[in-house]
């Protein structure tokens, strides 16, 4: 028996949260909340552990730092040209190189991290999505087996879903 996707459309955040609490206890196969705005409550309930993006940021930044100094020093030594009587490896200007590359690589790595954790770009719009979710409606989509269907539909309704669609 193939499972079905239910989506409840909510106008109010507190109703959404209520539904969310109930649904979560029932441990559905899959549970997605659509929201026009981010909210920390959602994260507390659904994503307790911090995002891995930060590791990307750190790795990138370090690469940039060492890469920057490395490049500057190595390339200066390559020809060893004296300019202005300064030492071949003159650290003060190289600090800037190191710093800028730290930022650059840090930012790029963060972007990469974001893309990976999002499975970006994911152009396929799931059936449970609704254009109003980018305006003023919240959506709670669950994946349940046929027999649980009615039970979940009831939960959503009772929580105050304006509509419940089956997709």
């Amino acid at each position: 028996m193939k499972p079905v996707s239910l989506v409840g459309v909510f106008a109010h955040f507190d109703e959404l949260m209520e539904a969310l609490q109930k649904v979560k206890e029932k441990k559905p196969e899959r549970l997605v909340v659509y929201s026009p705005v981010p909210h920390h409550k959602l994260e507390e309930i659904l994503e307790p552990k911090p995002s891995p993006v930060r590791y990307f940021a750190l790795a990138g930044a370090l690469t940039g730092l060492f890469g920057g100094f490395g490049l500057a020093i190595w390339s200066s030594l390559k020809w060893g040209l004296i300019t202005g009587g300064k030492p071949i490896v003159s650290i003060p200007p190289f600090i800037v190189v190191g710093f800028e590359l730290t930022i650059l690589f840090g930012a790029l790595a963060t972007l990469v991290g974001l893309i990976l954790t999002h499975q970006f770009p994911a152009y396929k719009i799931p059936g449970t999505y609704d254009a109003r979710f980018s305006v003023d409606r919240f959506g709670l989509a669950v994946r349940v087996s046929q027999e649980q269907r009615n039970e979940f539909e009831a939960i959503l309704k009772s929580a105050g879903a304006e509509e419940v669609h089956v997709r």
């Binding site: 040209l81 004296i82 300019t83 202005g84 009587g85 300064k86 030492p87």
Partner: protein, 941 residues
């Protein structure tokens, strides 16, 4: 076609092409090539070949060594000159050359040179004709003129040696009247005096090297008077001795004056009083080595020192000081000339000077007539009157004018503009168009001296040879050949020699001992001049003094028209290079200006670049103002070469046109002129850029605190020492640098925008009345500010201490130039044009720079390179003095010394250790490789 035929053809074709590319063309196959370097050498492409000949930019006639390169021009090998240097060992200049000599190639390669004979058509325009036609026209007119008993006149600039001889015989045989030679800067008063006093129509050689005190009156020893190269070299040498004093009297301001130990500015035309005073003091104090006869002495005005003070305006103490130092010396040399003798009382001044020289026993010692310059054939302006009258009356039918520009330079009173029209035919022999050629009917283009055989005698005792260093560029002929042609055509084929054979025959006669190639290398041979002792001619001396009584009237608002360092009497003013190089006093390059004294400028509210209306009598002109420190109040200066006609009418008793006009009217037109003044300020604002020498002590630099470990140089650190005591600011180095390094000439507009390209420049810095001249070029700093700012390493510090500039790596951010405290770097704002034949003179050892890249002085790195190659071949180090940059090579004062700083015994290292050594902007700790030697403070007014 069969394969074999094809290959045959191929072989033929290729061999043919090889043959043609060998350059075995008639032009350069038959050619006598006497080398300065051993004659057994063949032409090696890429190596210079040095030919000795003589400079003809002015009558001084320095010996020159011309570097000739083998180039492919228009698909044909040609030997072309790329650089001129003084000829070592030549008695006139011994290896040194002035700014004009350095620029001679710009005359040779000048775009406006007459390329073939020309004839004026009915419409007044010139049309090219063939030599034969030209000769026909001339001969026809000559025949006609002879038939109706009129004259044929031959007017030329000063002519000596072989040409003089040929000209005389030509004139006598062909029936041409040789007119007195015309030389605009002929020091008539001085020559006239020495003729009256000592019976010599000569300008003696002034042996500054033998005197211990020099008193010069008006004579611009460093610009045009006598032999400037020799003068500045001797003065510099004397200065090195330390005891030498040099007092210069001049009514205006000149480079010479600013270089003297003490410069006194007497009122215009009152100089004679000082000499008269000294002369009588010599006798009263019984210091006279040779007492003057009473008849002469009584003609010398008796002046009290107060009277002299009143006449000259020179304070008493100064006069006393002058008197003391004059008597303190035992070989005091007095020289009068220039603007001071080219004046109403100039004849009298010259006479007094001659007498003073005699009385102090200097005639025969520091005033040497055995090596004098013979002026017997040159006519004073007065001497011209007779033939000018004849010309006016139409009694001169045909007039030849050769190598001179009377229309542009002679006094207005000559009225040549309409007088020349009275001749049926005026034949001009010239290389460049000027005011005179504009009035000629026929123009015969004369070959440049570098294209000519010839011989001149710069001094009685010296004959200097001319030999061609390249084939004539155009259909030109030497004056000698022209004379010989006319000679032949007029008198039937009597003489069939050409001028080359003519002079060579003469040489064989003159110097039988020496073979031709050796003579060609040496560049001159000495002539035995008669040594009869000089005696004073009492009565004539007295007569001269009587006839030339000085006038004591003092004039106001006087404008002097002195000759200029750059353009001589104006003959060089069309040479682009000389216009590009600024006048060292005013730092103005292009255009015309009048020098206004600081006081006058303040009084009349005149600023630099104001347009002024200058009027004297009916003569009037618009001219830009340039404020000139050191110029006395009420005196103005306009270089005579900046006038298209010499506005003076009046001659002095010696028949010399005056060098000034009085009663000048000056007012602002309100307009501003775009006058390229290259100097941002005439003062150094107490920045110690000119560090005047205090007292002798071992090197004054304390080792500066270095932020980083100083990098060490392995074998060489190239360095330069410039002695500001010796440097006169004559700018010869600038010209040499331009020519050596292919520096583009960018023209007036770019100069106005502040984009001159000179790698070395002369910076005048005035303090009150005095000036010092600072040659400034890339200082090749050890801690060069220009290097670290370059994003692409286009400039860096090479192991030999050079601040290398890599043109093809440069992207043109111009940061290096911004960050150079000496502003020695030059940016190529546009691509530069080298029109033919100017491009022939490019130095193949120095790459041309295209637009968008930075360039600067390289210490003539290509010369260093070749010296190192030579050293490596003999596997040794480069010897001291083996590398000589172009600027140092030509410096007449020997102020620039180049060498290896790591060799403690090298000249440059010794100078860098001297107590006078300092660096410009030392406090910036750029550690320059250029050390300046501080000058002694001038004594000033």
């Amino acid at each position: 076609m069969r394969r074999r035929d094809f290959i045959k053809l191929l072989g033929v074709a290729s061999s043919a092409s090889v043959a043609t590319s060998c350059g075995l063309t008639p032009e350069n196959s038959q050619k006598l090539i006497p080398y300065l370097v051993p004659p057994d050498r063949e032409i090696i492409p890429g190596k210079g070949m040095f030919l000795s000949t003589t400079c003809t930019e002015c009558p001084v006639h320095c010996g020159i060594s011309v570097q000739v390169r083998d180039k492919v021009i228009q698909n044909r090998h040609r030997q072309v000159p790329i650089k001129i240097e003084g000829l070592p060992g030549h008695p006139i200049n011994d290896g040194r050359l002035c700014i004009r000599g350095q620029a001679a190639l710009h005359r040779l390669y000048h775009a406006e040179r007459f390329k073939q004979p020309m004839r004026r058509e009915g419409d007044g325009q010139f049309a090219p004709i063939s030599w034969e036609e030209a000769y026909q026209v001339i001969l026809q007119h000559m025949a006609k003129v002879k038939s109706d008993q009129r004259k044929i006149g031959y007017l030329s600039g000063r002519t000596t040696g072989a040409l003089a001889e040929l000209m005389d015989s030509f004139c006598t045989h062909v029936g041409v009247e040789k007119l007195p030679e015309y030389e605009p800067l002929f020091p008539a008063s001085v020559v006239n005096a020495s003729f009256a006093l000592f019976g010599r129509k000569e300008l003696p050689e002034y042996r500054i090297d033998r005197c211990d005190f020099l008193l010069s009156v008006g004579a611009d020893l460093l610009e045009t008077f006598g032999n400037p190269v020799q003068n500045s070299r001797r003065i510099a040498a004397q200065r090195k001795k330390g005891t030498f004093r040099w007092v210069h009297l001049e009514p205006h301001v000149s480079l010479t004056g600013l270089n003297a130990t003490q410069r006194l500015t007497p009122k215009p035309d009152s100089e004679w009083a000082v000499i008269a005073y000294l002369l009588q003091r010599v006798h009263q104090s019984g210091r006279a080595k040779k007492t003057l006869p009473g008849s002469v002495l009584q003609e010398v005005p008796q002046l009290s020192i107060e009277k002299v003070e009143e006449l000259t305006g020179i304070p008493k103490e100064k006069l006393q000081h002058l008197e003391e130092s004059f008597f303190a010396s035992d070989r005091p040399l007095t020289i009068a000339g220039g603007v001071s003798t080219a004046s109403q009382n100039g004849a009298f001044l010259a006479a007094l000077t001659g007498l003073l020289q005699w009385a102090t026993g200097q005639v025969g010692a520091t005033v040497d007539y055995t090596t004098a310059v013979d002026y017997s054939s040159v006519g004073s302006a007065a001497a011209m009157e007779s033939w000018l009258k004849e010309l006016d009356q139409g009694r001169i039918g045909v007039l030849f004018i050769s190598r001179c520009n009377p229309v542009g330079t002679a006094p207005q009173s000559w009225q040549l503009h309409h007088r020349l029209k009275k001749a049926d035919l005026v034949v001009g022999l010239a290389d460049l168009p000027d005011e005179t050629t504009a009035l000629c009917d026929i123009i015969l283009p004369v070959s440049h001296s570098l294209e000519s055989w010839g011989e001149v005698s710069p001094r009685k005792d010296v004959a200097s040879v001319l030999q061609p260093v390249l084939d004539p560029i155009y259909e030109t002929r030497t004056e000698g050949d022209i004379l010989l042609d006319l000679y032949r055509l007029e008198l039937g084929a009597a003489e069939t020699v050409d001028y080359r054979e003519y002079v060579q025959k003469r040489w064989r006669k003159a110097s039988s001992s020496r073979d031709l190639p050796t003579l060609m290398q040496q560049g001159y041979y000495s002539v035995s001049a008669e040594k009869r002792p000089v005696r004073l001619r009492e009565t004539r001396a007295a007569n001269l003094l009587r006839s030339a009584r000085p006038q004591e009237k003092t004039e106001a608002a006087i404008v002097y028209f002195p000759p200029s360092l750059r353009f001589y009497d104006g003959r060089s003013r069309r040479l682009p290079l000389l216009q590009e190089i600024p006048d060292p006093l005013s730092s103005v390059s292009y255009g015309r200006w009048i020098a206004v004294s600081v006081a006058t400028a303040k009084r009349l509210g005149i600023r630099d670049r104001d347009e002024l209306r200058l009027g004297i009598g009916e003569w009037e002109t618009q001219i830009a103002a340039r404020i000139q420190p050191g110029l006395p109040e009420g005196v103005f200066v306009v270089y005579r070469d900046q006038l298209d006609a010499y506005p003076v009418h009046h001659l002095n008793p010696a028949g010399e046109p005056l060098s000034f006009l009085s009663g000048a009217r000056l007012e602002k037109t309100g307009a501003r002129v775009a006058l390229p003044i290259l100097s941002g300020s005439t003062s150094d604002h107490e920045r110690g850029i000119i560090a005047h020498f205090k007292e002798e002590k071992e090197s004054k630099h304390e080792p500066q605190v270095q932020m980083y470990e100083p990098h060490e140089h392995k074998v060489y650190r190239w360095a330069m020492a410039i002695d500001l005591e010796a440097c006169t600011g004559c700018s010869a180095c600038v010209a040499a640098c331009y020519q050596e390094n292919n520096i583009p000439l960018v023209g007036k507009e770019e100069h106005v925008r502040g984009r001159e390209m000179a790698w070395i420049r002369i910076e005048p810095y005035y303090t009150g009345e005095e000036a010092e001249f600072l040659p400034m070029m890339c200082q090749q700093c050890d801690n060069a500010p220009c290097e670290p700012v370059c994003p692409v390493y286009a400039t860096y510090h090479n192991p030999e201490g050079l601040n290398a500039q890599i043109y093809n790596r440069c992207v043109g951010t111009r940061y290096c130039s911004n960050n150079c405290p000496y502003k020695a770097r030059r940016f190529n704002w546009f691509d530069h044009e080298w029109p033919e034949p100017l491009s022939w003179g490019l130095n193949p050892d120095v790459s041309l720079r295209n637009r968008g890249v930075m360039e600067k002085c390289t210490f003539c790195v290509h010369r260093i390179r070749s010296a190192k190659d030579a050293a490596r071949d003999e596997d040794r180090l480069v010897l001291d003095g083996e590398v000589v940059p172009a600027c140092a090579q030509t410096c007449p004062a020997d102020a620039i010394v180049f060498g290896n700083l790591l060799d403690p015994e090298s000249r440059v290292a010794k100078l860098a250790r001297s107590g006078r050594a300092y660096h410009v902007l030392e406090e910036l700790n750029t550690q320059p490789a250029v050390t300046y030697l501080s000058p002694h403070k001038k004594e000033g007014e």
